[in-house]
Amino acid sequence: MKRLFALLLAALALGSCAKGGGETRIYLQRFFGECGAEYGGSTDIAHAEGECGIITTMVNAFNASDGKAAVDTNVIAWPGYPQLTAQMAARDPPDIVSMHENVISDYASKGLLEPVEPYLRAGGLTAASFTRASREGVTIGGRMYGLPWDTHGGLWHINTGLFAKAGLMRGGKPVLPNSPEELLAQARQFRQRTGKPYLLQSLVGDPAGATRNLYTYVLAQGQPVFPDARHLRVNTPEGRRVGELFRQLTAEGLGTSNMDTPAAIAAFMNGEGGIFATGTWMIGQFQQESVTARRPLFGKYAVMNYPRLWGEHRIYVGGHAWVVPARERTPEQKAAIGRFFRFMAAHNYDWARTGHLPAFTAVLDSPQFRALPHRADIAALADIGRPMPGYVRRQSAVEGIVGEEMSSAVTGQKSVPDALAAAERRVDEFLAELD
């Protein structure tokens, strides 16, 4: 027993040992999972796959090539904000943190993040390096609070086999609607010819999808969703038009109403519906299915941006960024962060292989990126994509409220005006309570 205890103590002591060497260390904290088993020792970025594999090999490659600094990675449970907040409260935040762009305002408004322009300059990057959607996603009050890393947003993932059966393919491309009336007509035609729903919707336990639809098509009609930092405005003629359209789709059985995200994904992969509206992050999975023989999606997959149904072509988007929490740092550490940003920027193409759109204009326009499956069809998202304004705080929580109410409207549990009015009231009350 004593020997076992001694062994335990020895293991603890060994595990606690800091890595040796006098080099500068910076601490990076991220989500995207842990895959040390497969990629722990790899620096081969080009052959890494998936978010976790690619980011793990990128950090490994930086450590192997920089020579002056080392990055220690702390992997946190998604999305990691309770931990980050706790670290900030304890005045022990990491040096670089992965963050969703719609969360940045929560921390930046309290002075907990550093503006990153000095690091960008040190890394040879300027604001002009980034796509419009990426730049806007990290900019608050004219300052950039993160290195934009990608743009992600809603897309229409399409079963081209069912679309062909429905007579909705032209020149090898899916025919998408250009107005609400066309959408309903095509959805009815699809239903009639295939017997399956046109739109697979994950309305159960997934408020984000319904929110994306509402935000996207309200923005497209030229109406701001948040006229100021304290008020949501969706119970308007523009908002009600969007709500009524999706309500009608669902009421006629043209869109599903009883699926959560895993069910909707499974239904799409099994050819149970024409379109699944979800994000850039599913491209890799669906593409893999489409090139695997004997799978229902084999050779039948396309992905397009949300169609323009009203006014201008606008799509609500978000993105990932690397932010720098405010704390004391040595000049060497600051220089290391700048070099790390430069390294990350140089490998943004590899990250774009995950399905997310690149944050850098040069990568977006490169033949290498356009040659990736489906990317040429969705690249416009980086230009037409619009994040919520940086002055809106707690965007993630607000999305949850809006999505709940929009889902209630779409499934008919509430009338559209009632649901949108409830969304406004709940969000306005919530925002009013923020200091």
């Binding site: 595990g15 040390g36 088993a37 706790a86 992969m269 229902p296």
Partner: protein, 274 residues
């Protein structure tokens, strides 16, 4: 004593109930033995082969899994040991000793039962930050030692033990501490066992406090570490891995239950009879 035989209908109902309880567990294990890719399109694929151990290999391949397992063991055992010591002593004090404000203090302890831990999480976090105890074993163990339920439970149990036992020992010249240690404590083993089980399970499964106190991955407990290891959208594209994590995290508890099965059942029965 001959056990009463159950009627066929009662047996059937018991079997049905057992099957209902077992079904989700069996489902979890089956899912954990399937490749993630197979489950994305159809989770029903878990009902037939081929099965694989690749999800378990991925868990063990994660660089720090064994460290997290060790952390969980240290924290759970430390918390359980501390709770048993403190609650037994406090229970004896409240049950047997007369001291100023005893009733008031006991009421305060009872009030603690009504306060959810989330309500005090902010000042608790600030306190531990001030004391530089985050990312340490004391930081993970100490909050678990303050259990109102444990004090209440041990107090009630000790109150039910005849006071004549104490008096006899005191008459024989034993000190209070000796009475507690040699006479009363051995009689509370069933209650100690029950409290140990509750405390160990609670500590092993705790997620919230380790999540915000252990922010460096080498101090994660198993629950936090396994959550961190998940990819985004694990419930769709990593279902097999997710279920393997659930099985892996529950295996130590299952082993503890297998080893101490008799004591645990006796403890439950004893606690109920008291």
């Amino acid at each position: 004593m001959r056990a009463d035989r159950l009627s066929p209908i009662a047996s059937l109902l018991v079997l049905l109930g057992a099957a209902m309880m077992l079904a989700p567990l069996v489902w979890t294990v089956l899912l954990s033995l399937k490749a993630n890719g197979e489950l994305v399109g159809n989770s029903g694929a878990a009902l037939h082969g081929p099965y694989t151990l690749q999800n378990y290999q991925a868990i063990f391949g994660t660089s720090q899994t064994m460290r997290w397992l060790l952390n969980s063991a240290v924290v759970s055992l430390g918390t359980t040991t501390g709770v048993l010591m403190l609650c037994s002593l406090a229970g004896y004090g409240f049950a047997r000793l007369e001291f100023p404000f005893r009733r008031t203090l006991f009421v305060l302890v009872l009030l603690g039962l009504a306060i959810p831990s989330q309500a005090v999480i902010l000042p608790q976090h600030q306190l531990f930050a001030t004391l530089h105890l985050h990312n340490s074993y004391p930081g993970l163990i100490l909050p678990g030692l303050t259990t109102s339920f444990g004090v209440f439970f041990m107090t009630q149990y000790m109150k039910a033990i005849p006071a004549e036992l104490d008096e006899a020992a005191l008459l024989d010249g034993a000190s209070r501490l000796r009475v507690f240690w040699k006479v009363i404590l051995p009689l509370t083993v069933p209650a100690q066992s029950a409290l140990a089980v509750f405390t160990f399970l609670g500590s092993w499964n705790d997620y919230w406090w380790p999540l915000i106190s252990a922010t460096h991955s080498n101090m994660y407990t198993l629950t936090v570490g396994l959550a961190a290891a998940q990819m985004n959208y694990a419930q769709t594209s990593g279902l097999g891995f997710l279920m393997a994590q659930a099985v892996f995290a529950s295996v130590p508890i299952f082993i503890v239950y297998l080893i101490f099965q008799r004591q645990i059942i006796q403890a439950m029965a004893g606690a109920a009879l008291k």
